[in-house]
């Protein structure tokens, strides 16, 4: 049987169900949502819609800050978001301080990985969310490794062709080829406003020492930008296909202005002294 007759036979068998089965379906470039951290946005091009994004790293590597920043961006753009929290560790007070609209965030507080995966599956199939985040956080890697690859495939299929961004936070990458974007984070240094000074009394505040923030490095392990078409957003032309970057996250306890650093530090010390 010749190739053409074989092709004709397949096409006739699939007639009415599949339109042009042998036509190459070119993948469309995903639209991206900004993370809200300029260094990461330049590196990655944002979080792709309709794709699975993995952000992995050890504890204190900045995963939560990135997720919080993306949630802020989405909720401020009037999108409904969902956070499936496998370890019930989300901080709503801090999130609201950073600009997150809590009324637009559905928070599912789970007690384990099974509940979390089940909840994500239901949310993805419900549809309509701008961002669905699965925070596996600091769950031991030996447990996240036990999640079968078919689960990640199912998630990817559920989110495909939708406008939902699916973000998974985990200690290490698990979704393999199902993830369109994989970021690996590491903490580099924690920034303090002044070196700690020794005090004689335990109750006295360490003068002028405040948590300023932290610096992290991000490595893009996998990227959706490797596809043929560029991103549909303006900044796409400036993006690097892969690489690493450094970014800083500031704490809400930081000293705001560089010029008035000492003054504010002193003020903070005074405030804390008043509290004591």
């Amino acid at each position: 049987m010749s190739v053409s007759s074989l092709r004709l036979q397949v096409e006739s068998a699939l007639a009415g169900r599949v339109v042009a089965p042998f036509r190459f379906r070119e993948a469309t470039a995903p639209v991206a949502v900004p993370i809200g951290i300029s260094a990461l946005d330049e590196l990655t091009g944002g979080l792709p819609r309709g794709c699975l994004t993995e952000i992995c790293g050890p504890p204190c590597s900045g995963k939560t800050s990135i997720l919080q920043s993306a949630l802020v961006a989405c909720t401020q753009a009037s999108e409904a978001c969902a956070l499936v929290d496998a370890q019930d560790c989300f901080d709503p007070v801090g999130a609201q301080k950073s600009g997150l609209e809590l009324s637009r965030l559905l928070w599912v507080r789970c007690q384990g990985i099974d509940q979390a995966l089940c909840s994500v599956d239901l949310l993805l199939h419900a549809g309509g969310f701008g961002l669905v985040a699965l925070d596996l956080g600091d769950i031991p890697a030996r447990l996240t490794r036990q999640v079968q690859l078919s689960v990640w495939f199912r998630m990817r299929r559920a989110v495909e062709d939708t406008s939902t961004v699916l973000v998974v936070l985990a200690p290490e990458t698990n979704a393999k080829s199902c993830a369109s974007l994989v970021l690996r984070l590491e903490r580099e240094v924690t920034a303090w406003s002044l070196p700690a000074q020794k005090t004689e009394r335990r109750a006295a505040h360490t003068p002028g020492c405040l948590l300023d923030g932290s610096a992290h490095s991000a490595e893009m392990v996998r990227s959706f930008l490797r596809r043929k078409k560029p991103l549909s957003i303006d900044r796409a032309k400036n993006y690097k296909p892969s690489g690493t970057t450094r970014f800083q996250i500031s704490s809400d306890k930081r000293i705001k202005e560089e010029g008035s650093r000492e003054t504010e530090t002193l003020q903070a010390a005074e405030v804390s002294a008043e509290r004591i």
Binding site: C60, S61, S65, E79, V108, S119, L122, T190, W192, D234
Partner: protein
């Protein structure tokens, strides 16, 4: 002016069949009376063919093979009558609650909406059939004539103006519902139909039987008319069911609930309303020991049969019976009744259905119906209090929040929404804040101090050296209440020898009331 009367023949039987459609083609008898001496009060055609007549005892009725016997249930009848009124209200706002199983409505001016009177009659019959009732319908310019003709003919019957007397002539005089005394007098006179009554001289009739005779004479002549007494439409819908045997399993229970919900939603839809809140009430079967106190010489009732209540409020009113059933099933799976169910009540509070068109330039939001179902499913897996939106409490206590129901709000700023897909320039991006991860519950820790500063922190067998610390941040509150709190918080940067992955910035807290150190969480 034109009136349409809707009459439900064999109303008592139809109210039972409406609840149990499987009885439609079976011989069915209805019993009523004081407890042990039940008598047959109604029987359908199939039962009558077997020889069952009204007045038979229950024992005699059970002798007939294959006969379905049911006790009269007034709640079922009330629900069937309410369905009839709902059907009438779906056509006209001017409806009279004439009698049980009989409604009359003003149909003047409805031709433009529904077509000719005959078409209106057919549509009413079809609407009632959807609600489980086979009805007779008659339209006339005379209200009483419409009522009598509806009771006599299946219809739809349309009586032209001036033809009332002619149509009423052959009908039995009992349809005029005379008092017993007058009925006896008419029987003695040999007056059996309306035509004979209408032929009597009015003056003589007045002298013999009084004003009632004059009134019936006018009705029989097609001239007696009166004003419509309007009924007030209700916004609460109730359905009731009493299964033969108590139901214990969720599967058959949800089957019965589905049937009730179907009827309820049909009624609500007919009135162009939607269900906002649904209330479920079960009467539970309790054991003899639970109900009666037999410990003493006299047996006395200890308590009444238990009941189970459950309410479900929807963020958006719906007419979807399947959605309501799924939500109720999930609720019952989570909190099942603790005894078999004997009786079921379902009450719906209604609202206007949502009639808002979405904005093209707004981001897609979850479909409220689908979201409600998804949230219910998630709640059944993780617990009802663990799903929703966080709402911060007015307190300085760290981690003070409560959960409330998540609702995908639709009112958004279009301009704001336009900037979602990365159109913002990098300069416009705000600075990201350092995230914090709570350990819920906080972990017990052991802290070593040196010269007023923590130098070593241990928890779960890991000991970290403090590289940098900031604190103490002393906080306290609600000291005037029982749940007072007081703590010294420290931000510490820890370094773990050999376990570099754990190294990071944490918050440790000294609980001054419990006198112990806790690790509250980490900066991530």
């Amino acid at each position: 002016m034109a009136y349409c009367a809707i009459f439900v023949p064999h109303f008592l039987l139809q109210s039972v069949i409406r609840s149990e459609p499987s009885l439609q083609n079976q011989p069915l008898v209805l019993l009523d009376g004081p407890a042990p001496t039940f008598r047959v009060i109604a029987a359908n055609e199939a039962a009558r063919l077997l020889g069952i007549t009204a007045g038979l005892t229950k024992a005699a009725a059970t002798e007939f093979r294959g006969v379905q016997i049911r006790l009269r249930n007034r709640e079922q009848e009330a629900a069937a009558h309410a369905a009839l009124l709902d059907a009438a209200w779906s056509f006209s706002p001017r409806v009279e609650n004439t009698a049980i199983g009989l409604a009359t409505m003003d149909v003047a001016g409805l031709k433009n909406l529904f077509g000719s009177y005959e078409e209106i009659g057919l549509q009413i019959q079809s609407c009632c059939l959807e609600l489980g009732l086979h009805v007779h319908a008659a339209v006339s310019e005379n209200l009483e004539t419409a009522r009598i003709i509806a009771c006599a003919h299946r219809g739809p019957t349309i009586i032209s103006a001036g033809q009332e007397a002619q149509c009423l002539n052959p009908l039995p005089v009992d349809l005029l519902v005379p008092s017993e005394e007058l009925a006896e007098v008419l029987r003695h006179w040999g007056i059996t139909n309306c035509g004979a009554l209408a032929a009597l001289p009015v003056l003589s009739l007045s002298e013999c039987v009084g004003q009632e005779g004059v009134r019936l004479h006018a009705i029989a002549s097609g001239k007696g008319n009166r004003a419509l007494i309007l009924a007030e439409p209700t916004h609460a819908f109730e359905e009731f069911m009493e299964p033969d045997d108590a139901v214990e399993e969720l599967e058959p229970l949800s089957f019965l609930l589905g049937r009730l919900l179907d009827q309820l939603c049909l009624r609500v839809t007919a009135r162009a309303l939607a269900v906002r809140t649904i209330h479920l009430k079960f009467e539970l079967q309790t054991s003899f020991e639970e109900v009666f106190d037999v410990s003493r010489e006299m047996v006395r009732v200890k308590q009444r049969a238990g009941t189970f209540h459950c309410s479900l409020t929807l963020p958006r009113p719906t007419q979807d019976a399947k959605l309501l059933l799924k939500l109720l099933r999930l609720r019952l799976q989570e909190k099942p009744p603790n005894a078999p169910v004997q009786k079921l009540w379902l009450r719906a509070d209604t609202d206007r259905p949502r009639a808002v068109q979405g904005d093209l330039f707004l981001p897609a939001a979850p479909d409220p119906d689908k979201l409600e179902l998804t949230l219910a499913r998630i709640a059944s897996a993780v617990g009802e209090n663990n799903v929703g939106s966080a709402e911060l409490l007015d307190s300085y206590r760290p981690d003070a929040f409560r959960m409330h129901k998540f609702c995908a709000t639709g009112a958004v700023d279009s301009q704001k929404a336009m900037s979602v897909d990365g159109v913002e320039s990098p300069q416009e991006l705000r600075k990201a804040e350092l995230g914090f991860r709570y350990f819920r519950p906080p972990l017990s820790a052991y802290v070593v101090f040196d010269e007023g500063r923590p130098v070593r922190v241990s928890w779960k067998g890991n000991t970290g050296k403090v590289v940098h610390s900031s604190g103490p941040w002393r906080l306290s509150g609600q000291w005037w209440e029982e749940n007072s709190w007081q703590e010294d918080a420290w931000d510490v940067e820890l370094s773990f020898a050999g376990k570099t992955l754990l190294s990071g910035t944490y918050q440790i807290v000294f609980d001054a009331l419990q006198k112990k150190w806790l690790v509250r969480g980490s900066y991530d």
